[in-house]
């Protein structure tokens, strides 16, 4: 009798243990789920770059170039569609694919590739628009060189435009370099960072130093470079980040007029490395291993800050949505499991005041409003919208 009782008790305990050991709050999640609003952009776009050209005016490189105008705080974005091969406003002729874009010198610069693989670099007309009728200009390029990155960096009001270039030799692997257009210029020239084995994945200016993350012309590893001059004439290899041999996915430098000395580096397996004193000391936020994954999250992009204190930055990840990096407390993953952004690869982030745009791979463009504390707002047209 006692044996049966204890056996029964054992089964009950086991059942309770099973029931309470695997209990995510599913119903509590569903009861607060909000339907994500959608807009008129195709929902499965892959976003190559995003630029803000004027207050509330956004240009998105996603194959073609899409232009959107935000109606105001808590408003909606009106996107100009690219409906057919012959109806592509704001785009250069020839069904070109735009893979890089930046605002520089009052114009938008765009790197393009034709369907046959011919690369080109355009400077927009005054609208701004890459359409020939709107006064766009094609910038002569070194034959065979493709644009992989466009960034404006340097002391205001005279920044430079940096161009990441890739050239395919007759045989063997691509060779990469960093070029630049000096302030108010219209032609580019190479910096000293040439003959690299890996592409340039980030360029910035922290108020004192120019920064770049790219490969090396010595070996196949990754490097972080600094230079006091815009042409990286005598670059310094930053050796104290702690990154080691990991792949560098991106480098972001905060606006030096507001947050000087802040540099954030995103890596493939080692998390995020950041400095607030121009590289004097470095902090490290280790990579999250998301639930259900056996691998650390790979971080692709960074932007910010999104709060008024300058403490919180947004970090895009490969397949796990985005994280918030607090310079004081580390990485926290965006928690809403009910929307597609949670499992998207966020490769581009643009912070425009309280408006944040996130470009993903194959899951389109997302937009939200963040409050002064760096938290996503929840009002109508303020929570994440799948544009």
């Amino acid at each position: 009798m006692k044996a049966r009782f204890f056996t029964f008790l054992g089964f009950v305990s086991l059942a309770l243990a099973v029931l309470t050991s695997c209990t995510d709050a599913i119903f509590a999640t569903i009861e607060t789920e909000k339907k994500v609003a959608t807009n008129t952009l195709p929902l499965l776009l892959s976003i190559f770059d995003i630029a803000v050209t004027a207050p509330n005016t956004y240009y998105v490189a996603a194959g073609a170039v899409f232009r959107g105008v935000l109606s105001g705080v808590g408003g909606t974005v009106t996107w100009t569609p690219n409906t057919t091969d012959t109806s592509r406003p704001f785009n250069p002729p020839g069904n070109l694919i735009c893979n890089a874009m930046a605002l520089f010198g009052g114009a938008v610069w765009g790197g393009f590739i034709s369907p046959s693989g011919v690369a080109s670099l355009y400077r927009s007309g005054p609208t701004p628009s890459f359409a020939a009728a709107d006064g766009s200009t094609q910038i002569p390029m070194v034959p065979g060189e493709q644009v992989t990155l466009l960034r404006s960096a340097g002391p205001a009001p005279t920044p430079n435009l940096y161009i990441g270039g890739a050239t395919a030799p007759g045989s063997g692997d691509y060779v990469y370099e960093l070029d630049y257009v000096p302030n108010a210029g219209t032609t580019y020239t190479a910096t000293s960072l040439t003959g690299l084995n890996k592409p340039v994945v980030g360029v910035g200016f922290d108020g004192t130093l120019y920064w770049a993350a790219a490969g090396s012309n010595v070996d196949t590893g990754w490097r972080v470079y600094t230079s006091a001059t815009r042409d990286f004439a005598s670059p310094t290899v930053v050796g104290n980040t702690g990154i080691g041999a990991d792949t560098i996915n991106g480098l972001f430098v905060a606006d030096p007029t507001l947050h000087p000395g802040v540099v954030i580096i995103t890596t493939k397996t080692s998390g995020v490395f950041y400095t607030t004193n121009s590289g004097g000391t470095w902090s490290h936020a280790g990579a999250d291993v998301p639930s259900g994954s056996s691998n650390p999250a790979s971080y692709l992009a960074a932007a910010g800050p999104i709060d008024t204190l300058g403490d919180k930055y947004l970090i895009g990840s490969d397949g796990f949505g985005y994280y918030t990096l607090s310079l004081s407390t580390g990485l926290t993953r965006f928690q809403d499991t009910t929307i597609l952004l949670y499992t998207s690869s966020v490769s581009k982030i643009l912070v425009d005041g309280s408006n944040v745009l996130m470009g993903t791979n194959f899951n389109g463009l997302w937009r939200a409003v963040f409050d002064a504390n760096g938290v996503v707002a929840s009002g109508t047209n303020q929570y994440w919208i799948h544009e």
Binding site: D24, I26, G292
Partner: protein, 187 residues
């Protein structure tokens, strides 16, 4: 003589009203499919079908059942079911319960009315979240006895899903209804 030999067969298909034709050891299997209706959550009081869009949509349910008679009117068995509904963002809420069931069968030939109570565990999956809940499922069925082997009918079950959580504020009790068609095989 031939009529007498055939008498037992006719007796099985022409049962007296109120009398069970089953005995200890008889078994049944059934296949069921139908509509899954989300009702509300406790203690939050959220009504699933309220709002535009609703928190959960109407869904579909299917199940397989086996039972054995332990007396002419009581059968015990197990059910394995599966159902799905959709959230406002098109996420699928999946449930896979394994239920131990007891039924008391009222027979009003050619109809029978099993009243049942099921208890089991419900495996619930939603996006990357998963849970194993305790499920109570009382209900009733109504069958037309077609012949000694087959019956066809309807089920109506109430699902009371207890989703406990280590954080008490996240514990919820889900309430659902199932209306399904059933084909029952006696053997």
């Amino acid at each position: 003589m031939m009529a007498c030999a055939a008498a037992p067969i006719f007796a099985a298909d022409n049962q007296a009203p109120g009398a069970s034709q089953y005995a200890l050891g008889d078994q049944t299997m059934s296949i069921n499919a139908g509509l899954f209706v989300p009702l509300f959550l406790l203690p939050s009081g959220v009504v699933f079908l309220a709002g535009s869009p609703p928190q959960l949509s109407l869904g579909a349910v299917g199940s397989l059942s086996w039972a054995a008679y332990v007396s002419p009117v009581i059968r015990l068995g197990v059910d394995v079911a599966g159902n799905f509904t959709l959230s406002p963002n098109g996420n699928v809420l999946l449930m896979l319960p394994f239920i131990a069931k007891a039924a008391y069968v009222f027979t009003f030939y050619p109809f029978e009315l099993p009243i049942s109570l099921g208890v089991g565990m419900n495996i619930v999956k939603y996006t990357s979240l998963s849970s194993i809940d305790l499920l109570l499922r009382p209900g009733a069925s109504f069958y037309w006895i077609y012949n000694s082997s087959w019956s066809f009918g309807l089920n109506a079950y109430y699902w009371f899903d207890m989703q406990f959580n280590t954080s008490p504020s996240s514990t919820r009790y889900g309430n659902f209804l199932e209306f399904s068609l059933s084909a029952l095989y006696h053997f």
